[in-house]
Symmetry: C2
Subunit: 392 residues, 2 copies
């Protein structure tokens, strides 16, 4: 990459974050009446569903705290982060079992809890940033406690009805992957003592059970012992997810200066790019089948925003860490395709849901799944990487 | 419709059923080793997942029995129906609570039970046809018992973890709609004594809670008292589903000679056609928003096979019952669009999942949701209607 390209990309990400993404969400998603954030927004920012998702409460709170801690200590960011944390503390928990809700009404009435505990992991990193920003020990306690509950619930989901019987036990990539990212965040924000242990353990889980060198792929779901399950669910790969996991591991390799981890992350990226990049239309496909058979999920060939975000980070980071020109080429391919199709030129931010050919399927800007997270995290992370590349 | 058009359509449906759809499923889906049916098939009929869905076990068994009883008493159809019923009896039930599974392994190991009881409703009509075909009272007992369990579970789902809290109670169109169709089938096959009562009660439920004359629409989901819930789920309309319900009511009107029911069914069809017909590309959209806002479900603008099947039946039946030329025009529109895009010219049967523009999204012929049901039921029902129109 030329210095000019680095500078131009840096400005695209930095200015996109500070002048487009963040203002869009601050302007439209902040609930001044009941606190917290409403992320179900039409293309122009109009609220189209007042319900609140706990994932997005945690994620936006984390983002605001992260920006305060990493970019500059703007009071507005901190105030909004504290308001997000207040809403989570007040309305995020089911007093009957201490678990977090997934979906509540505008004023915090509970609607739905899920079998999984990702509300907990996102709230943990949010509280962690607030500890770092304010020094209040309560935030660190909450962060630590929620990380523990996230781990405990995933390892042993007590009192939670399971979707499947025990006939065919499975393990999913999501838990070890999110554990890595959550522990990385909490190591940085609250100095989580056993962060390294959880990161090592999760990387080992991914390596042992989900990586299949003979098939050149990262399995999203495997049997309890890592066996390939030759059924729809078992064969379904989610390349964008595996690529997200790849850059969490690349990041760890970068921090530790560990060549082996960098190699592992690159391998996951390489295999998943080969399987997920749509050579016909461009962009990363949502799902593909291990053996090229039809996928059962209806939206398998759509282009969602977040797999593109994660691939933009992963390819740039792989290039920074290896200098391999292949990654610069891939980064340009995915960056150019994403920026040609996702940004809303009229109202700002990105569309979330495109057809395979890049045409818009839905003009939604947000819902309980799409909020201020993957796009701004990409913008922030790539800005930081490019800044290092520039001065390096 | 001219006599020539009637004759030509009749042959399309009849020959499609007997020479294409049915042979495809009998050739590829029958499990000679473990009994029952494997419906997860690639475009050429290759089995791509050996798991079995209880919906499809019941539906294929019903279809075979219905053909035996309505078309001609072919021994092969009866033998296969009995094999389907055997598999359901042996492997369909959880002995711990008597409820039916949704998803089992090839040899009947339980994988998943759902919160709903539609496995029960489809098994009920299957056993009903087998009673009619064989006169064995055990089949009638099973049919009656399963209808009871279907009703009881829907009205009071004991021991079943609910997806949502009680904060915002909802009622869904599916239960009253499927109750009508199930009771109609069981009235015919086993002379279910309270069929008429359940049909009347279900039509009244739909009329009172789901029909909104001021908005000209049939709501898929409403509040417990029928209120519009101005959230994603509450605003999401499923026109193909409402049209399916419309023809169940038209059918009841036809059987009873009840003009008011015919009027009701036509109203549901008219409103749902206006909202669901894709005037840009043709075909019935999967989901649309009550107020034209973005829909949250990712596949909202895809064209699935079954909404087209149900609309082909509904428009033809509405034409037969009213003589209104509008319905003949709509029937031709939906028939022509569906037949131009869904049939697989190479391997037979229909594709299930097209993009909005009619291009193929997945070459899947079947899975736990798509099996020998909507298409052959359409072919059989339209053949019967056209036969009446021809001789009438």
């Amino acid at each position: 990459m030329t210095p000019e390209r680095i500078q131009s990309l840096l400005e695209t990400y930095r200015d996109g974050l500070l002048e487009d993404t963040l203002p869009f969400w601050i302007r439209h998603a902040v609930d001044r009446r009941h606190g917290g954030f409403i992320t179900s927004l039409d293309h122009d920012g109009t609220v189209i569903d007042t319900d609140k998702g706990l994932w997005q409460q945690g994620r936006f709170t984390w983002l605001l705290g992260e920006l305060y801690n990493q970019v500059e200590p703007r009071q507005q960011w901190l105030d909004l982060a504290i308001a997000g944390a207040d809403f989570i503390e007040k309305h995020g928990f089911d007093p009957s079992d201490g678990r977090m809700w997934f979906h509540v009404t505008r004023d915090g009435g509970p609607i739905r809890k899920r079998r999984y505990a990702f509300s907990e992991s996102f709230a943990a990193i949010a509280f962690g940033e607030l500890f770092k920003a304010t020094g209040r020990s309560r935030y660190a306690d909450l962060a630590r406690q929620l990380f523990g509950r996230f781990i405990d619930h995933n390892l042993d989901p007590k009192n939670t009805p399971q979707k499947f019987t025990d006939t065919r036990p499975t393990r999913a990539l999501g838990f070890p992957m999110i554990t890595i990212a959550t522990a990385q965040e909490l190591r940085d924000s609250i100095g989580l003592p056993d962060a390294q242990t959880w990161i090592d353990r999760s990387i080992e889980t991914i390596r042992r059970y989900h990586l299949k060198p003979d098939l050149k792929c990262v399995m999203e779901t495997v049997g309890g012992d890592g066996a390939i399950l030759d059924h729809f669910d078992g064969r379904t790969l989610t390349p964008g997810h595996a690529i997200e996991g790849a850059w969490f591991i690349l990041w760890e390799g970068k921090l530790r200066g560990d060549e082996e981890l960098v190699h592992l992350g690159c391998q996951m990226l390489d295999w998943s790019w080969q399987r997920g990049w749509d050579s016909e239309h461009g962009g990363i496909l949502y799902f593909v089948d291990l053996r090229g058979l039809p996928v059962q999920e209806y939206w398998h060939d759509m282009k969602f925003w977040w797999p593109q975000n994660e691939t933009i980070i992963a390819t740039l980071l792989a290039y920074q860490l290896t200098g391999d020109a292949k990654y610069a080429t891939w980064h340009q391919q995915i960056h150019d395709w994403a920026y040609a199709h996702f940004p809303d030129q009229q109202h700002g931010e990105w569309f979330g849901y495109l057809h395979r050919d890049g045409s818009i399927s839905s003009r939604l800007k947000g819902n309980l799944w799409k909020g201020p997270f993957h796009l701004p995290r990409m913008q922030l992370t790539c800005w930081r990487i490019l800044n290092e590349m520039r001065v390096g």
